[in-house]
Amino acid sequence: MARSPADSSDGPDPEAITDAIGHLRSLLSEAAQLVETLEERAPALNAGIEEEGERAEDLRRRLEEAERDQEELTAQLVEAERQASKLTSLYVATYQLHVSLDPVEVSNAIAEIARDLLGAESFAVLIKDEVRGGSEIALTRGVPDSDPLFSGDSYQGGDPQIDATLQDGVLRLEPMEGSRALATVPLRVEEATVGALVLLKMLDHKATPLSEDRDILDLLAAHAASALFAARVYSKTDRKLRTLEGLVGLIRQS
């Protein structure tokens, strides 16, 4: 004989089932409310996410901008450092050229500028000799005694670059065909070209081209000769003065 579950005393308790269903309905209702609430808030949340995204993008842009600014500032700092170094060199070179009225000291200053600031290994300073013609070799460094152009006391011409600069007073930084000079710097007093600094060889390790030393070359062109002339005039005058003082002293004694 067949038996329905309701007939069985071991079957599920109908009251419990009703409670469970009621509980499930309540849960469903809560879930539905939650979904409703979420649906209501979704646009605002989406807007918030979008806003945060924009803020993040803005921050990323600003960070990139700050990084670019930092790179630019670093580059400017390096450039400022380079300029400061150059200005120091120019100041020191000018100072050394004019600090003494001793012709030997002035010659040493010119040599030190050429060697230590320009990186010249071999060079000569020529001063035009208007009386005897040609140019007096006022200073040489790293030039062998047997050098055909610069041995002895005077340069009588023969190098096309040097001759051209002595003639027209133009600074030449490029080698010229038939010339041994790497560069020839005119030495001026006021508007007149009174001599030249001839650079024959640079130090092997010198990294920068001479064109980057234009400021120092211009400074030498403008100041070296006048400093040397002033020192020579002072030295000559001083010698004459001492001679005269000696004579006066002798006359007084006699």
């Binding site: 450092e81 380079r82 400061a84 170094s85 120091t88 060199s89 100041y91 020191v92 070179a93 100072y95 050394q96 040493n108 200053a109 030190e112 500028i113 060697r115 230590d116 600031l117 320009l118 990186g119 290994e121 130090l203 092997d204 390790h205 010198k206």
Partner: protein, 121 residues
């Protein structure tokens, strides 16, 4: 931080360059190796030496070997600053005990970086 630096160099121009470039460090100026050895005795608190190689009376390398042989001064870092720029010149200087080798013409940053590195407390 302010350091006390001995400059051994025969060029007046380079002395003035250091004076300008290395402010506010204190500089003791010497024009040859003999004078520098004397100065080391007078200034035991020297923290670094900037040394030229080609000098009258005593070469830079001879001065360097004397400094390195003296137990009192051997720990002072010596930086050679020279127009001699060949690889073998650098090698010789470093083998003689120099802490660094800089060639002339130099930039301020070359010297400052080496001084900062070698005198870190």
């Amino acid at each position: 931080m302010k350091k006390k630096i001995l400059v051994v160099e025969d060029s007046k121009l380079v002395h003035r360059m250091y004076e300008m470039m290395l402010r506010p460090h204190e500089i003791v100026h010497c024009y040859d190796g003999h004078e520098a050895l004397q100065s080391l005795g007078d200034h035991p608190d020297i923290q670094l030496i900037l040394l030229d190689l080609n000098m009258p009376r005593m070469s830079g390398l001879e001065f360097l070997s004397r400094v390195k042989a003296d137990p009192v001064f051997s720990k002072i870092p010596v930086v050679i600053v020279s127009t001699e720029g060949k690889e073998e010149d650098t090698q010789r200087g470093l083998e003689a005990g120099a802490a660094a080798y800089i060639t002339k013409p130099f930039q301020r940053e070359d010297i400052v970086e080496v001084i900062n590195r070698l005198t870190e407390d």
